[in-house]
Symmetry: C2
Subunit: 362 residues, 2 copies
């Protein structure tokens, strides 16, 4: 007997919504579909949204997920800069912000307070220049920037499905999908509804406590059949020009600023080959003594894309909604990011060449 298609958000060991034990088996406890299954009113056949999404996505050439199970590792900053970089190469780019409860894309792209427009073609993304379109919950509710979206999982799923089937991206080369921390409704929805994902980039920081989450991210991709394009180690040591630092001396319980004394001592006495304006200061900040992302990638057999130092200039660019590749302001982080993005593009192109008939498209 056909036990019905297992819903995307079902528990493990789901007996199937049409099974005799549907909604009543031990594995059904806590499943969002339990009541519906038990009542025998579970929907039959494939999710009709999938057809609409597949039609809408026909104009999107490449799809890249940006993941990290841990929050605050710079995932959104990376997604924003990846999108700026691709747009700077004259590609047509879309950026979809799946963080419903903590959207930061509008700020990071300088688009705060903007709203979407609806046309006959669908929801219009908000544009940076003419080739980078962005979609975020902030654009759907622009008037309530400080109000939390106290949304349960199914409600988030519903909005994400609308992003997937109702947004008119036009013909685009790359769709970058930025996800929130974790492996919950947003990740379940995007991995089950968006077909043909080129791969995922996993962003992390160097500490062991972050590595636990990276392993979960890699295993999430494996379970969902998504290629891991590679792992980025972000905030990999702080690098700043000497002139950006202050020096203090502890005097009892208060700190005295001795920056001027230190700098003038160095200026007067440093050997001529040590031009102070060329000196950078480095600190590890987050303990990477466990080997960091690079060793973890070796162990798990996924590509390591590179390290991006913790660069206050990059933080500032992100705060101001600017590309770090413009104006040479992020001299510490921009070259690292550029090299990583080139590897991502190369890896997508190689896969395209290897796919059946892929090489001919070019």
């Amino acid at each position: 007997m056909d036990k019905g298609e297992i819903p995307e958000d079902a528990n493990e060991h789901c007996p199937g919504p049409q099974a005799e034990t549907a909604g009543k088996s031990e594995s059904c406890a806590g499943c969002p579909n339990q009541q519906v299954c038990a009542s025998g009113t579970a929907p039959k056949g494939p999710d009709p949204d999938l057809v609409a999404i597949s039609e809408r996505m026909a104009t999107v050439k490449h799809k890249i997920l940006v993941l990290s199970c841990k929050g605050g590792v710079g995932k959104s900053t990376f997604s924003a800069q990846l999108s700026f970089a691709l747009a700077g190469m004259d590609h047509q780019v879309g950026l979809m912000d799946l963080d419903i409860c903590g959207p930061s894309m509008p700020k990071m792209l300088g688009l705060e307070g903007q709203g979407i427009h609806k046309s006959n073609f669908g929801w219009q993304p908000v544009y940076v220049g003419d080739n980078l379109g962005v979609m975020s919950i902030s654009f759907v509710f622009p008037e309530s920037a400080d109000e939390p979206a106290i949304w349960s999982g199914p409600r988030k799923t519903d909005l994400i499905k609308r992003f997937l089937k109702d947004v008119y991206w036009r013909d685009i080369d790359y769709l970058v999908v930025d996800t929130p921390p974790g492996t919950s409704d947003e990740h379940i929805t995007i991995s089950s509804c968006l077909a043909g994902i080129d791969g995922a980039i996993i962003v992390t920081t160097p500490q062991e406590v972050a590595m636990v989450d990276v392993r979960k991210g890699v295993n999430f991709c494996k379970r969902k059949g998504i290629d891991v394009l590679g792992v980025v180690e972000n905030m990999s040591g702080l690098v700043q020009p000497l002139s950006d630092f202050k020096f203090t001396k502890q005097l009892g319980s208060s700190a005295v600023d001795v920056t001027e004394d230190m700098i003038s001592c160095l200026r007067e006495n440093a050997p001529p080959e040590l031009r102070l304006d060329d000196v950078f200061v480095w600190s590890q900040v987050f303990d990477g003594s466990g080997g960091g992302a690079e060793r973890m990638c070796e162990e798990m057999g996924v590509p390591f894309l590179g390290k991006v130092p913790l660069d206050p200039q990059l933080c500032r660019a992100a705060e101001r909604g600017k590309s770090c590749f413009e104006g040479n302001k992020c001299s510490v982080s921009a070259p690292a990011l550029k090299s990583i993005i080139e590897k991502v593009i190369a890896s997508i192109n190689i896969k395209e060449d290897l796919s059946p008939g892929g090489g001919e498209k070019k």
Copy 2:
């Protein structure tokens, strides 16, 4: 006509599960209860779990939520150190980790690989010493540390309810509840199921992009009737001894280590009052030029608890599951954390004194 109790996770403008338009009104779109409401099988009366939770929580004196809508701001590190501090003051302490998809409490308390035990009294927390009990999803599934919990909202809600009604905390003075980023199922569940929360501590970093999320956190508390005990600004500038830094000089495209030259130049030439071993180096790292958490607190009328510098020693203590208050290793961050924790305790005690009959308990 009675329209039924509105479920905790209902959409805004919910018509009520027993209303004629239940599950059919416009505001029902995307609500997790839509199908159940439309089918007329919505449960009647109050949630029976609430009674069980209230009975279980009768032995818990104070309940503190640790929130931050943004991820990676050091919320879990703060929760862990708060719990260590309270336990160090000889209080009986419980720590509940609500991060189902990215639990970090076991690592931060040195309890990796441990599992819960079930007794006649309920699930036993895992203990650090004899007065700090911890509960986390990692202890429920200790064998799958690297496997992601690909769990939808309702399934997370189910586990959190079990944490609330099935864990045997014994008589405890403080229950610290660490939450994941966002304002979704975990936050909805804890705020609707746990009565008598003393208040929430909101942890953030100094940047504007984090302030957006803090405002959401404060507004979440207002909407849910939870007092904000205050806001902690974490990673508020990097402070480290001079000897922890490396100095480099850019030579073409590669960096040359000039640390020895710099340090020996300073040792030989610095004035005697500048003892190098007493010099600390400070960098802002995350841009707080918008005024950071302190200004935001003034604007929103909530207490500012203080700043904790980005201290690599604290990161290392967290990585190793250690208290930062032991062994004087975190000389930069521990005093700041201590002062914040004292304010939190004072604020809870004042409220207790002010509550009807509260002063008499002492």
